[in-house]
């Protein structure tokens, strides 16, 4: 049975705060989406290099990346804050408390995850897929590309995990974004704020929207993965 109180509450809620909510959702998707795209552009090729090639310093680089996978968001935020604060080395850019610096903070969080999971996925396929492609006449570059294609599920899992990390974190965007209404407020920082103010219903709605969006993004990425069987 439909709860009419709930429906009327939702109606009232969306009519009063729908505009603000859509802005928060849009900014959240824009910031985390941009961070993951940049993280994938940086992380997948680096992961491919680490997965396919043996070179001096590879082990050390892998260890650093694995360490950065567990970088606390608030620490990432602090580092970015210090860099872009007025007295920091890039303070002259004057972008602290704006969405671009929030993207940079989330790139720091997402890229190590995308790199490490891509590298592991590619390394797992490297020997057999590479040799098979070469036996069929692939050049080194063609064989490497085939290995990356074969590792696509693992790479997508890395991108999804990276997105989850960026979309769900609160410490970094709170520090560098400042949670400014209509400007840098995203879903996670809104949840913190609304909870502190005792607006639990709004906080729960925001939480549900966050989960729903994560579900939609994951479904789209999995659909891309399925399409490889042509």
């Amino acid at each position: 049975m439909v709860n009419t109180d709930l429906l009327s509450w939702l109606w009232q809620f969306f009519s009063q705060r729908g505009g603000e909510l859509s802005g928060i959702v849009g900014l959240s998707l824009m910031v985390s989406g941009s961070a993951v795209i940049i993280g994938a552009v940086l992380g997948v090729p680096l992961g491919a290099l680490l997965g396919l090639k043996k070179f001096p310093g590879r082990e050390l680089l892998l260890r650093i990346i694995y360490t950065l996978m567990s970088l606390p968001p608030v620490l990432a935020g602090l580092v970015v804050y210090l860099i872009f604060a007025r007295s920091g080395p890039l303070g002259f850019l004057d972008i602290l408390f704006t969405p671009p610096v929030m993207v940079i903070a989330q790139v720091l969080l997402a890229t190590p995850i995308i790199t490490a999971l891509s590298s592991a996925a590619i390394a797992a396929k490297e020997k057999l897929a590479m040799d098979t492609a070469r036996t069929l006449g692939a050049s080194e570059r063609q064989a490497a590309w085939m290995v990356i294609k074969e590792a696509r599920t693992g790479i997508l899992a890395g991108i999804m995990t990276g997105f989850g990390r960026a979309f769900g974190e609160v410490g970094a965007v709170m520090l560098v974004g400042g949670n400014v209404r209509y400007q840098t407020r995203v879903l996670t920082t809104s949840i913190v704020l609304e909870t502190r103010q005792g607006n639990y219903e709004f906080a729960i709605v925001l939480g549900l929207i966050l989960l729903l969006l994560s579900f939609v993004v994951s479904s789209v990425l999995l659909k891309i993965d399925d399409s490889k069987l042509r």
Partner: protein
């Protein structure tokens, strides 16, 4: 006398400091089926990988159709590798359709459109898997996987077919089918086939010549009947009579 297809001169292959292959002189002629025999660790797979240019020898020369592979540039090596096809011991199917698996080698050689489709279908028909084109390759059974691996090779129409234990772990029906297909490939295209096998009966059934490797060295190379009925080496005698203790 015709030029040998392959010639190996003082070829040594080492992994770290361990020597796994040491071939002083070996010539392989075209249009024959060779059975490569020997116990595990004898250097059989290494030999095929060197011939297929998947690996480079530590020292020595491998000459293919008169060209020294050491002196050939990357482009030339790729061109020569594309005249061969190797089916690896651990057959790997790309995670896509059977059709795409078979088409891959042809696409690398620039075959497109109707010609591509015709040759893929022809290859699948050859191995008796005409209806398998749209199946997901990684979901096939062991026997079907080996047949698709053979179809990938057949589609390319290689001059040299290198098979590393293509019937290992298959049931007797699948073994018989793969053997029949290997012979048909050889007879219909004239491809030289090098097949690694632990099955001495299989070697007798399909090969023209046998090469026995032991501790990385060629112990004996002889026409198949002579190899089994009148072996020259004591090691070969022990091997064919099943008395070799590995």
């Amino acid at each position: 006398m015709p030029e040998p297809l392959f010639e190996l001169i003082d070829v040594v292959k080492k992994y770290d400091e361990r020597t796994v292959l040491r071939v002083k002189d070996l010539q392989l002629d075209g249009n024959k089926i060779y059975a490569i025999l020997g116990p595990n660790g004898a250097g059989k797979s290494t030999l095929l990988k060197l011939l297929n240019m998947l690996e480079k020898p530590t020292s020595g020369r491998i000459i293919f159709q008169g060209v020294d592979l050491n002196r050939a540039g990357e482009a030339a090596r790729l061109r020569m590798r594309r005249q061969m096809c190797m089916v690896l011991q651990n057959t790997y199917m790309f995670d896509t359709s059977v059709y795409q698996n078979v088409a891959y080698g042809l696409q690398l050689r620039g075959v497109r459109g109707a010609e591509l489709e015709r040759r893929v279908k022809e290859a699948l028909s050859f191995v008796g898997l005409s209806d398998f084109g749209s199946r997901r390759a990684i979901k096939l059974s062991g026997g079907e996987t080996q047949r698709v691996a053979l179809a990938r090779a057949v589609a390319i129409r290689p001059q040299v077919l290198l098979l590393d234990e293509p019937t290992a772990n298959l049931d007797p029906d699948s073994v018989a089918l793969i053997e029949k297909l290997v012979r048909r490939v050889h007879e219909s295209t004239g491809a030289t086939v090098l097949i690694i096998t632990h099955n001495l009966f299989q070697a007798q059934r399909i090969a023209d010549e046998a090469i026995l490797l032991y501790n990385g060295q060629v112990i004996e190379r002889a026409p198949i009947n002579q190899f089994f009925t009148n072996p020259q080496s004591e090691i070969t005698r022990r091997f064919v009579s099943g008395r070799m203790v590995y």
